[in-house]
Structures are given as structure tokens and as C-alpha cells.
């Protein structure tokens, strides 16, 4: 009996897709690639329960077949692409709410629920899940954990790991494990195995359920934008705001070029690019939220301090609203959504390094140099503050990539690798929101040194046959 026959026997025919057309659509994510680089799995399965996932992994384990789990397939580095074929688990079929506990501000969901579905479910309780990437309509809870993606509100709430209390996984042997601390917000007991899941890319286990911490929905939110003569000034300003004790909900430093990418709805409305002062090199988008009085006082104080940093408030609200629509509300005019409009010729491609806060501006200039060296059109840099109440950046160093041009896609990958290595040289890290995937795998030793071997050993404990998402994080010799 073939492993696909065993999957059909275990799950039922309707949960197993083998038609080439059906498999094909699961062969690409949002990462820059040519349309010749679709990498379909050998079979797609649509589980509904943890038991289904367990059965799938047991079949894979017995036959030593690769298993790759995915959600919305909006990853920007191919993390959920089944590089070595085998079984693709579409987790989006597992999107049920298991429990909402309003009193304890938690939700238990199946891992295929999108972040938006979580928020739709808890909205009646005046609660929300503040982990909010731009892909929230499609990004699932499981993939947000496994990819460790970014969040608009990181400076107040952190990323998904700050919301994750517990998770159920199916390991590479088919064992079901619960990792975490139930509904307690933190623990000092044992090793924090749950934390290993953030950015694990499905290499340790398939996440099937998660318990997430929710937050009360703030009554009011005010978003503003300030321009600065240089990026470093914006960093210093943010540092000063935190020192002052202000509670910032969102903070993003954009280089001047990046603004254009985030103001699609402004161009739709006015037929032109937004204008900011010629001297401005950096823009800071900043949000305060809470009760009106608190928001007002925080904002007033922030604007008062701004003068000390040569900052100027952007008075044209349409610029701020357009940026916020792109970043958070996704409230685009019907039939004129930003993404396809902005990707008609070339698509968004990014490296996601992290560097020490004092070297942001220096790294920005290096990013421009590297992009130009590889003859790529620069979109710009966005530095997201993603660590609660401190200055910790995720950097999105973005360029346009002509995905119809194999040579340009190759140059993008070289650009990505060069920036990743450069970030390590800057005493930083290769990745802050896209994880390693196969792209960064060759450089993991550079990033982690001798500890890489310990990671490999951990991987072997969870996945002794190496069937879970092979080729991701750790280089696998032969590529299909």
C-alpha cells in the first residue's frame, strides 16, 4: 500500500488531494520566484482534527516521507513550500474556536484559524489579539507562530510569542504534545519548550492548537506621523519617549522612499504622490491608544518633545490615513486594493535583518548600497519596533523584484544573502520576521556558531527521521 493510499484510508478520499492542478496551487507563497519555480507537493491533505494530523504524520514517519505544513501561504521566504515534495498539510481546514474564556482573556483555537478569524470571534467580548501583521486576513495562528512574523503593535504587545500561552503540536513521530503553561501568563518551571515553536517553521512539530492571551480593545487610537532629518534622530526620539514613560502602541520608522509604498490610497484619491519636506529623510508613524484623556496627554507630550529632535508633524491627515490603511486597517477603496496594484510589473521582496539600535542609520546606507550593487530598485526600509516598551527593531529592507525575470530573482536572492550576512557582521541577526527557510540555511552556522549543533540535536529529538519541512533551517544535501 502506498503512503497516499494509507492517507486515503486514514482520512477519507475527500481530505486527500492528488490531482496535479490541486497540488500545483500549493507550490508557491509570497516570496519572489518566477512562475517556473512552482514547487508542488506530491499530495495535499486537508485535516480537520489533531487526530487527522497525527494520522498523517504517522503515515509519513512510517514511509519517511517529508511533511510540510502551511497556512495562508503568504510567507515571504518560501518557509511553507514543500521543497522535497511529500505531504503538504493545509492547516486552514482546522480553524475552529475551541474555547473563549473572556474572564481570563484567553482563546483556544485550532492552528489554522486566521488572525482575523480569532479577532472576529473575540470581538463581542471587547477583546482582541494584538499580533497583527499586514497579512492578518490570511495568516494563520499556526503560521504566525511557526514563522514568527511581524506585528504592527509590537512596541506595546510584542509578537505572537508574547501572546502564546500554550500550544499543541504533533511531533515528527506522530506524538501529540502540549507545550506551555495553560492559561498562566508565564512560568519559571521546566524548559520553555513552547518558545522553541516561534520561528520553528514546522521543523519540530505541526502546531494543531494554541491558547492565546487576549487584550482589552482600547477605546481610542490616534496615529500620527512625524518627519525627521535623519533616521538616527527618529531612533533617539523614540528612546526619549520611552524614557518619558509614554505608552506607545505602534512605532515604525520609514525611510523617505518607503513612504510611497505605503500610500497607495493617497495616490488613488489625489492622483499624485504625497509630499513631505525635502529635508526629511525619515518618517516615524506612531500610535497611542487607550482612554481619550490618556491618549491626548501622551500625544501632547510626545509632540512637545518632538521639537527637541528637529521633528515636524505631518499635518496632512490623508497621508497618515493612507499609511495606516496600508499598515493596519487594509481599508482600501473597493476593487483598488494595494497589493496587486503595486505588484503589476515587479513584486515586493525583502530581507529582514536586525541590527543594534545605534547602528540603524549606518545599516540603512549599507542596504541601499547592496541593493544598487545588485541592480535592484529600492522600495525602502521600514523599522518596526517589535519588543514591548523598548527599542528593538525588525527591519524590512525591501526592493522590487521582476518575478518574470529569472536573473533578477537570482540577484534578489544574492541581495538577501548579502544583507543577512552583513547584519551578523553588524552584531545583529539575519532574521527578525521571516525566519530562515531554506534561503538562510547556509548561513546558520555564521549566525549561531557552535550552538547550531545543539539546535540540530533538538530537532532530532522532535523529528528523529528529519521528515518535518526538510531543507528549512538546516541545509539538506539533495534538493528535489
Amino acid at each position: 500500500m502506498s503512503y497516499i493510499d494509507e492517507l486515503v484510508a486514514a482520512l477519507g478520499k475527500e481530505k486527500v488531494l492528488v490531482d496535479p492542478a490541486e497540488k500545483f496551487v500549493y507550490g508557491a507563497d509570497w516570496s519572489p520566484r518566477t512562475s517556473d519555480e512552482f514547487c508542488p507537493p506530491d499530495v495535499v491533505v486537508l485535516p480537520r482534527t489533531t487526530k487527522d494530523v497525527q494520522n498523517i504524520v504517522k503515515v509519513a514517519f512510517a514511509h519517511e516521507v517529508p511533511v510540510t505544513a502551511g497556512g495562508g501561504l503568504t510567507g515571504m521566504l518560501g518557509g511553507a513550500i514543500a521543497l522535497y515534495g511529500g505531504i503538504y498539510i493545509d492547516t486552514t481546514t482546522m480553524n475552529s474556536v475551541v474555547e473563549i474564556d473572556p474572564k481570563n482573556q484567553t482563546i483556544r483555537v485550532q492552528a489554522g484559524a486566521t488572525l482575523q478569524e480569532v479577532n472576529d470571534a473575540v470581538k463581542p467580548y471587547d477583546l482582541w489579539l494584538p499580533h497583527q501583521p499586514e497579512s492578518k486576513w490570511v495568516s494563520t495562528v499556526g503560521s504566525a507562530i511557526a514563522c514568527d512574523n511581524d506585528s504592527t503593535f509590537g512596541v506595546r504587545y510584542g509578537k505572537i510569542l508574547n501572546c502564546l500561552l500554550s500550544a499543541e503540536i504533533v511531533t515528527g513521530t506522530g506524538e501529540v504534545l502540549e507545550l506551555g503553561h495553560r492559561k498562566a501568563h508565564f512560568t519559571s518551571s521546566g524548559y520553555k519548550l513552547k518558545d522553541l515553536l516561534a520561528g520553528s517553521e514546522g521543523t519540530l512539530g505541526i502546531i494543531t492548537e494554541a491558547t492565546l492571551k487576549l487584550e482589552p480593545v482600547p477605546a481610542v487610537r490616534r496615529v500620527d506621523m512625524l518627519v525627521f532629518p535623519r533616521m538616527g534622530a527618529a531612533v533617539d526620539y523614540l528612546s526619549r519617549l520611552l524614557k518619558a514613560g509614554l505608552s506607545i502602541e505602534a512605532a515604525h520608522i520609514n525611510c523617505k522612499r518607503r513612504l510611497q509604498f505605503y500610500t497607495h490610497s493617497y495616490r488613488q484619491k489625489f492622483g499624485k504622490d504625497p509630499e513631505i519636506p525635502a529635508w526629511a529623510e525619515a518618517l516615524l508613524a506612531i500610535a497611542f491608544s487607550g482612554d481619550q484623556e490618556v491618549v491626548d496627554s501622551n500625544r501632547d507630550y510626545a509632540l512637545k518633545i518632538a521639537k527637541e529632535f528637529e521633528a515636524q508633524l505631518v499635518e496632512e491627515r490623508e497621508i497618515v490615513d493612507a499609511w495606516w490603511a496600508s499598515k493596519y486597517t487594509l481599508d482600501f477603496e473597493p476593487f483598488k486594493q494595494k497589493w496587486p496594484d503595486s505588484q503589476k510589473q515587479k513584486k515586493f521582496g525583502a530581507a529582514d535583518p536586525g541590527v543594534p539600535v545605534g547602528r540603524l542609520e549606518e545599516f540603512y546606507h549599507k542596504f541601499i548600497d547592496v541593493a544598487e550593487k545588485h541592480e535592484l530598485e529600492v522600495i525602502g526600509m521600514n523599522a518596526y519596533l517589535e519588543h514591548p516598551n523598548s527599542i528593538g527593531f525588525s527591519l524590512s529592507c525591501a526592493v522590487f523584484v521582476d518575478y518574470r525575470n529569472a536573473d533578477e530573482v537570482r540577484r534578489f536572492r544574492e541581495f538577501h544573502d548579502e544583507l543577512s550576512k552583513l547584519a551578523i557582521a553588524f552584531e545583529g541577526t539575519m532574521s527578525t520576521f521571516m525566519s530562515d527557510s531554506s534561503q538562510k540555511a547556509p548561513y546558520l552556522e555564521l549566525e549561531h556558531g557552535a550552538s547550531l549543533e545543539y539546535m540540530k540535536r533538538i530537532k532530532r529529538i522532535f523529528d528523529p527521521k528529519g521528515i518535518l519541512n526538510p531543507g528549512k533551517k538546516f541545509v539538506r544535501e539533495a534538493r528535489r
Binding site: V25, S135, W137, V138, P334, K344
Partner: protein, 377 residues
Amino acid sequence: MSGLEDFKDELETCFGTSCGFCERGCPVYQNLKVKTLCMKGRNRTMLGLLQGKFEISPAVVQAAFECTLCGNCDRWCSLKNTEHTQAFREYLLKHGVEPMKEHSSLAASLRNYGNPWFQPRSARNRWTKGLNIPKATPGKADVLFFAGCTSAVTKQLTKSLIASAKLLQSAGVEFVTLGQDEPCCGSTLQRIGQTEAFETMASDNIAKLESLGTKKVITPCPGCYITLKKSAEKHGSKLKVVHVSQEIAHLVKEGKLVVKKSSERMTYHDPCHLGRLGGVFDEPRTIVEAIGTLVEMPNNRYESRCCGAGAGLQSAFPKLSRELAAKRVAEAKSTGATTLVTSCPFCETQLRTVPGIKVSNLMELLFDNVLENEKKG
């Protein structure tokens, strides 16, 4: 070059983008959760097919036809996704795929009877009995009431036509009809991928209306509304096409129809072809608000969810179609409304299959609530 190949650039843009924002509002995908059945996956399927990555298979056919063409994907995109899907259907039919037997049946009826429902042409005129509506003749057809196949030949739906006509007459609007000579607008053919037959029909229809000297068409059918409107635009005709709710809302606002208002909670279901694809949202609501208290469903206007009847889904995939109707009715009930109002014969019929809420046609509801001394006919 086939129609689908014309869209190759858009298919590549979708591949290049891959945002998947179309998934959230897609009624079919949300029910079945197979990625070939959401627009992102369907676009990829078309692209792969054009690239020769795989052959036409049952899954490819399913990807093309298991869709209501409701346009929710278009709302969250900037690509012409519903047009891709129609071209996809046409492509498959041209490449040897047999039309689905249910769709063949619709097309055969259209050829033989001029309507998709196997009703004799004479049935089309039954609803006008006793209404004293003049027949359109050249030069005497400034305003033409275009009833549409479905309402005209379906006994349960003719009441809405009668109500529409009487309301227009009460307000002093002079109009004519084509009686049993009224043709099909071609919407059904277009949606099931029979593009050539549709193009011929659309062209003939516009020529016919122009030859009569028609300036304005009023229709109660959203499918006819959007099809005739786009056909007129495509053929460079100055013919104005409006949905009856637009005409009537105007008359209510002008005080030409005086309405008895109640406190009943009512919710309004936007038909896809009238709302999202036709841009008519406010006028039906003006009428509902004149009659009762409008409470909106969570998904309304551009975000309205399809009832599941459209684009051949009801005939070819009845189970899924029923499930979509049940979801929409559940959403209506969640508002606390006691009446679910709509303004499309397909939506009306479809939503009535689900028990639990009174489903009313907008025109019938208005007619029942126009003060007695305003009524004529």
C-alpha cells in the same frame, strides 16, 4: 487568442502578489477550504494550465465552475477576477470540456424558449394581464420595463413584477414592455462560459432596443440590469439601464409614492449583481427605511455574501448552493430582523428555501405599504 490568454498578465500579477485577500470573503472557499476554489488558487490553476504544467482534469473543471461569480474577490483586489473565471469557463468549453449537463440544459432552453426555464414564450407575458401596459413599438418606447426571464415565467415571482409595474403607474411613469417578444438578456450564457452565444445575444438585444428608440430600460432583475448595462456600454449605445429600485427610490423621495412606515426590523440582502458589481446600494435601503427599521447584516454592501444561486452554482452544485443560502439566512437572523428583504428573483427564491425568516421582495413589500389612495391598477 482566447479570452483566457488575454488575462495571462493579470494571472501572473496575482501569482506575483499572492496576498490571498480574496479568501476571506469567498463564500465557496470558506465552505470548502480547497485552495483551487478561491480566486488566488483559481488564478494559479489558470496560469498553470496556460503554462502546460498539467492537463485539464476534473479538478480543473471544478475550479472553473464551482464559483458563484459573486465578485467578493474583486472587492478585495484590483484584478478582474470574475472576468478571469468567465474566460476560464469559456476556455475549457473551447478545449473540449463538455458543458455540465445542468448548464447544457439551461442553454438548450434558452435556444428553444428564450428563457432558461423551459417555459413557452407565451408565459413571458402572463404577468401583464390586466395591467394595461402598452406594447413597445418603434418610437413609442422611451421607457421600457424589462421584466427578465426568471420573474416573468415563474408564477411565485410574477407578484414582484406586478407590484413594480403598479408602483410605476401610480407614480405616473409611462412605460412599455416587449411582452412575449422580450428576449433573454444573456446573463446565464455569459456566466456559464458560453461567450460566443452570449455576445450574439447581447448584440441583438442592444440592436433591438435601439431600433425601438428606447432611451431607458427599467428592470427588476439585477442580472438583466448589469448585463444590459454592460452590453450597452460595450456597443457604444446611449441606452440608460436602471434597476427598478433606483427608479422607485427616486419616486419615494419625491413624494410621488407615500409609504406607511412601521417599526418592524428588516434587513436587506444586496444581490451581487446589483450591489457589489452594479454599485447600487443606497436606493434599495432608502425604500426599506421608508417601510420599516433597517438593521444591517455584518456583511453588507460591498461585503455582502452571495446567496449561492448565481452563475450556475445552484443547478450544478445544489448542496453547496443550499449551504451558502443557509449561512446568509443565519446572518440575517442574527440581526434580530423579522424580514429579510431583497431585490433579485434568484436571491429571493434561493433564500426562501431556508426556513426561519420571512423573505420579501422589495417591490412587493413596498406595494403592500404604499398608502391605499396612492395605488392604481
